[in-house]
């Protein structure tokens, strides 16, 4: 019987040890400290170099560490002064002269001045710049129209454009236009992305791989020191774990709440935020070949898909049905008169029958996730079911986001008939200009992967881009939207309302239509 007693004794000891360690450890899970905001992010940032990143997830951190020359006015997508206090635009719209804010220093102590601005844009745009190799700079084309940047004096900078380019100011407010410290770039070189230094409300403190990016309050912030002592951005890739952490009290705020989890946050302990933004979720249709070469079949797809059900059920109301290519968040450019295609499977069947495309076999590219893709697999599956119901035999192929882009961006020809896609932009010009023009076909370096081509649309977009008057631009865009809706190069599905949840200790938080996360006015007890 020795064996048994031994075992029993051993178990007892092990149990006691475990119990002890639990007992000691338990308080650690209780609460997050006051004054420190812990944000559950959807992913680890790629880098904290604004010129080098493209993901909204990264922007959420960057906007708090850096400032641009201009920024979006809170609650809108309109531009207001930031590091530049004022600017002048030349008559022909090709010269922008900025007056810079005085007395601003970067977190590393180096001064912010005209030279710093020049350094930033030269680094991104000039291949011969000695720090161009700290790139690559994937969004440099936002400023591709800039032909030169000069420091007129210490606090004046002049940009010269090769041609008028209406979205220029808006692009400057975008994270790609955020100003980094030249001294820090010089010091860290390629590792600058891990050792960021800007002028923003928070200074970078620490980046623990896959655990957290910590930023601390900048007491000398030109726009007033933030309320919080620090913000911790935790990457929690898994939406479910993110929700669990939020519920368990491990984080104070989470963004991109999975629609299915929203119901968990309905009680008083949490606040749910929602904000529509410049986002459109659509299906690219291959207009070059196959059934979707016929406009009627494209329209039929728009009729066949029950978008109301998608946004209300699958996305639990976190989005609205899209009517056309331009999201309503660009209020001045949005054509209010457009009505979304209604859900009308009968009409869809008719159109399909007219086009003789009954029983057509379609290949549908679906991604597993990606920036702004809103539960793409569930959406794709539901869409596939709707298409099957009207007699379009649809087969899904799923791809991881980067592979997906590698498949879709070079064009769908020969591979697929349709593909999911979502864009978030800062200007009504960007998406149609890059993805609907004839000159934006993949072989010409654009993102028109469905090969839509309508000379009228091309012309409208070219005009709008160089027009300096906003009303004139608005009229052009509204006209464009009408034509595009009729041509149905895409299935217009949804405009996302971004959401976030905070616990009841967080105050002063607001979501922005830009989808950025601005935390300088937030407090937490």
């Amino acid at each position: 019987m020795h064996l048994l007693t031994w075992t029993r004794r051993g178990l007892l000891a092990t149990g006691t040890a475990l119990a002890l360690s639990f007992g000691l450890g338990l308080p650690a899970t209780a609460q997050t400290p006051p004054g420190v905001l812990i944000v559950g992010q959807i992913a680890e940032p790629k880098a904290l170099d604004p010129a080098a990143v493209t993901a909204v997830n990264d922007f959420r951190i960057l906007m708090n560490v850096y400032d641009g020359l201009v920024r979006y006015k809170s609650g809108t997508l309109e531009v207001e002064p930031a590091l530049a206090t004022a600017w002048e635009i030349s008559e022909d719209g090709t010269e922008y002269t900025f007056t810079l804010r005085e007395g601003v220093t970067f977190h590393d102590g180096s001064p912010f001045n005209a030279e710093a601005v020049v350094f930033n844009f030269e680094r991104m745009l000039n291949e011969d710049h000695s720090y161009h190799d700290t790139g690559p700079f994937p969004l440099a084309f936002f400023f591709s129209s800039v032909s030169s940047v000069e420091a007129v004096d210490d606090l004046t900078v002049k940009f010269t454009l090769s041609e008028p380019y209406a979205p220029f100011l808006s692009n400057l407010a975008y994270p790609t236009g955020l100003i980094v410290s030249p001294a820090a770039v010089e010091q860290h070189g390629a590792d600058f992305g891990r050792n960021p230094s800007g002028t923003g409300a928070f200074t970078f403190a620490e980046w623990r791989s896959n655990e957290a990016v910590v930023v601390e309050a900048n007491p000398d912030y030109w726009d007033g020191a933030p309320e919080l002592q620090a913000v911790v951005f935790r990457p929690i890739t898994d939406a479910n774990t993110r929700t669990a952490e939020m519920l368990a009290g491990g984080i104070d705020m989470m963004v991109e709440v999975p629609p299915v989890a929203l119901s968990q946050f309905q009680d008083d302990a949490f606040q749910v935020f929602e904000q529509a933004g410049p986002h459109v979720w659509f299906l690219i249709l291959n207009a070059k070949e196959g059934p979707f070469a016929d406009k009627r079949v494209r329209q039929a797809a728009n009729y066949a898909i029950n978008k109301e059900a998608l946004v209300n059920d699958v996305l639990e109301g976190t989005a609205e049905v899209a009517a056309g290519p331009t999201p309503p968040a660009f209020a001045w450019a949005y054509n209010e008169a457009l009505e979304p295609y209604p859900y009308d499977p009968e009409k869809a069947k008719e159109l399909i029958a007219e086009a003789g495309a009954e029983g057509a076999e379609l290949t549908f590219y679906v991604t597993e996730g990606g920036s702004g893709m809103l539960d793409p697999v569930a959406m794709g599956t539901a869409i596939q079911a709707d298409l099957n119901a009207v007699g379009l035999d649809t087969t899904i192929e799923t791809y991881e986001w980067n592979t997906f882009l590698g498949q879709v961006n070079p064009g769908l020809e020969g591979k697929a008939d349709m593909a999911e896609m979502a864009w978030m932009t800062n200007d009504p010009d960007t998406l149609p200009f890059l993805a609907l023009r004839t000159d934006a076909w993949p072989d010409k370096g654009g993102f028109n992967s469905g090969y839509y081509s309508n000379p009228e649309v091309d012309e409208l977009l070219e005009k709008a881009r160089v027009a300096t008057d906003q009303d004139e631009r608005a009229a052009l865009y509204k006209q464009m939207q009408e034509i595009v809706q009729e041509d149905a190069p895409w299935v217009f599905v949804a405009n996302w309302k971004q959401n976030a949840v905070t616990n009841d200790r967080v105050e002063g938080f607001e979501l922005q239509p830009s989808f950025f996360l601005l935390l300088d006015d937030v407090s937490k007890d």
Partner: protein, 625 residues
């Protein structure tokens, strides 16, 4: 017993079989069941709880019927699991057989490759394969199969190496077969059970792995359901609607568990060792199930066996290995027990100290008296105390009977310290003395040798030293020289003879060799089919054997010095001890047998110093019957 019957006997395996049968049946009839289409979405009715109207298990995040998806998903997951296991098994076995059969450089190169693949974290390998091939259940299947090939290859190679060295492979080559034919017709049939076992125990694992890939979104493509992708899709709603996760999760658990139960059953049924009950753990002492009261001790023997009966209970068969043996040995006496294999001589010896492996061994009757104390009924503690201290054993194969991982000295020290509270150095000094007693050259350095570093003769000397460690009264030597060469055997026998005279030991010496008995033993008992047929002083018995079996056994052993000649064989075979004839067990082979020999119990009668169990002896013995 047939494999199926064996499988059915294992209750857990049966449960697994039934559950698996149900699952497979459900999967097979799924297309016939009145289920909603698993792919039709109804987003308005998403996340319905189980037992809702029209949705027994509720609906998922797109309002699809969970039950329908579960059954279709099970169908797919099962198919994939089996397919992956089959592919991995076939390819892995092919690689393993080739490596194991050809050996040498081929083996070396293949196994190095296998090592490399095994060093690669397998999930990452699978992931990379899927990434290369693109997502899809078929590709996930290929990946899962591919990463498991090395495990099969390694396993099968080991088995094949064992088979390739067996003599029947050589025999096949001499029968004119070439390598390919030998692999196919000789090696493969012997490897297949192992492959089946490996497969049955890994199907569950494969289902888990495929589910894992599907869970990561690399398996089946929507809207197709398999259990892993159901779980993966449901994960987002784990907190709000746990049922969507629990349903596929529980199904995976049930299936894999059923498969594992079944796999264990298949393994047990196909494994010949388990079949014969060999993988049961022998208990610390032989089971005793004595129905009749223990006989009283008689005489002045230091060790006496009285009507000892030991049986082996294997399944429903009863092997009467020892069928009522009475023997005694006096201090300083050497008693030989002689018999052919299966005659029960070793079991008799092991029964003395309760060392017969049990299960399946059971002592069912009689008594073993050591100095008047009945050992058969003694509690384990008492038996343990006497073992090695009063009654010690020397076994046959010294390589197998010494612990391979302990130094010879340590094993001796242990034998001493089990019974005597000596310090380590005292015990070591004593161990050294023992090694010198058994005439081991360089005893000092041998203390630190491992058994495999010694020759057979030296090992057996260690075995003898260990038996002598506590100055026992009785030594039971079970064929101690059978595994040794003649020259070494002569040395060991002479050593034993010297020791017993020096120390006044009582020895029970078990052997099958008359020459050995003649040289060493004072008295000898001849066993046949579990019983003593004749006993007496060695010289008298060998010179004038009375039992026909004894006489004929002596006659059929060739003796040195007579040149080439014909031998006197005994026709037939000894009887199986689970099916003994009534009357004299030797009667069917005996040329003197009469009808009376085949009826009733024939007693072992005493004739002076001799005892005999025969109605028609070869020579008339004097003395009363």
């Amino acid at each position: 017993m047939s494999t199926l019957a064996l499988l059915a006997r294992n209750r857990l395996a049966l449960a697994g079989l039934i559950v698996m049968g149900l699952v497979v049946l459900l999967a097979l009839v799924t297309p016939l069941l009145p289920l909603p289409d698993p792919d039709v979405t109804d987003t308005g009715n998403r996340f319905l709880p189980p037992f809702s109207e029209g949705a027994l298990l509720g609906t998922d995040h797109l309002g699809r019927d969970q039950l329908s998806r579960l059954l279709w998903g099970t169908r797919l997951s099962l198919a994939v699991g089996f397919a992956a296991a089959t592919i991995a098994a076939v390819l892995g076995a092919a690689v393993g057989i080739i490596a194991g059969y050809y050996g040498g450089r081929v083996d070396n190169l293949i196994m190095r490759g296998v090592d490399m693949l095994m060093a690669f974290p397998y999930i990452l390998l699978a992931l990379a394969i899927v990434a290369a091939l693109g997502p899809g259940l078929l590709n996930a299947l290929i990946a899962v199969a591919a990463v498991n090939i090395p495990f099969f290859a390694r396993n099968i190679r080991g088995i094949t190496v064992g088979i390739a060295n067996r003599e029947f492979i050589d025999a096949a080559r001499l029968a004119g077969m070439n390598d390919a034919r030998i692999i196919l017709s000789e090696v493969l049939p012997n490897v297949i059970p192992v492959i089946v076992i490996a497969m049955s125990t890994t199907v569950g694992w494969m289902i888990l792995e495929t589910a894992g890939l599907s869970f990561l979104g690399l398996g089946s493509q929507p809207p197709q359901a398999d259990l892993g992708s159901m779980l993966g899709e449901a994960r987002a709603a784990l907190i709000t609607s746990p049922h969507t996760s629990v349903v596929p999760g529980a199904m995976i658990l049930i299936i894999v568990m059923a498969i594992n139960l079944l796999g264990d059953g298949v393994r047990d049924a196909l494994d010949p060792r388990l079949r014969s009950g060999a993988l049961t753990r022998p208990m610390a002492a032989t089971l005793v199930r004595r129905e009749d009261p223990a006989p009283e001790p008689q005489g002045d023997d230091v060790l006496s066996l009285c009507d000892l009966q030991t049986q082996f209970h294997v399944k429903h068969r009863v092997y009467r290995a020892v069928g009522g043996v009475s023997l005694g040995v006096k201090p300083g006496e050497c008693l030989g027990i002689i018999g052919e294999s299966g005659s029960g001589k070793s079991v008799t010896a092991l029964s003395v100290m309760g060392l017969v492996a049990s299960p399946p061994g059971v002592i069912t009757g009689g008594a073993v008296h050591y100095k008047g104390e009945d050992l058969v009924g003694a509690p384990y503690g008492r038996l343990r105390d006497l073992r090695g201290r009063e009654v010690a054993y020397i076994f046959q194969d010294p390589l197998a009977t010494l612990h391979p991982l302990y130094k010879v000295g340590d094993q001796l020290v242990e034998a001493i310290r089990v019974h005597h509270a000596l310090s380590d150095s005292e015990a070591r000094a004593r161990a050294l003395g023992l090694l010198r007693d058994v005439r081991i050259p360089n005893a000092e350095s041998r203390l630190d040798s491992f058994p495999h570093e010694l020759s057979g003769g030296m090992r057996q000397r260690v075995g003898i030293a260990m038996a002598l460690a506590n100055d026992p009264e009785v030594i039971i030597a079970d064929e101690p020289t059978t595994a040794l060469d003649v020259t070494v055997q002569a040395q060991i026998l002479s050593l034993l003879d010297t020791l017993r005279r020096e120390k006044g030991l009582a020895i029970v010496f078990i052997t099958h060799d008359f020459g050995v008995v003649a040289q060493l033993c004072d008295r000898v008992a001849v066993m046949y089919a579990g019983r003593i047929v004749e006993e007496g002083p060695t010289r008298a018995l060998l010179e004038a054997p009375a039992h026909p079996y004894t006489r004929r056994l002596i006659a059929c052993v060739p003796e040195l010095g007579e040149g080439k000649r014909r031998l006197h064989a005994i026709p037939g075979l000894p009887p199986a001890v689970n099916d003994l004839p009534s009357g004299c067990a030797f009667a069917p082979r005996c040329d003197k047998a009469q009808p009376a020999c085949r009826q009733g119990e024939i007693a072992l009668d005493a004739y002076g110093p001799r005892r005999l169990r025969c109605l028609y002896p070869e020579t008339e013995l004097e003395g009363t019957a």
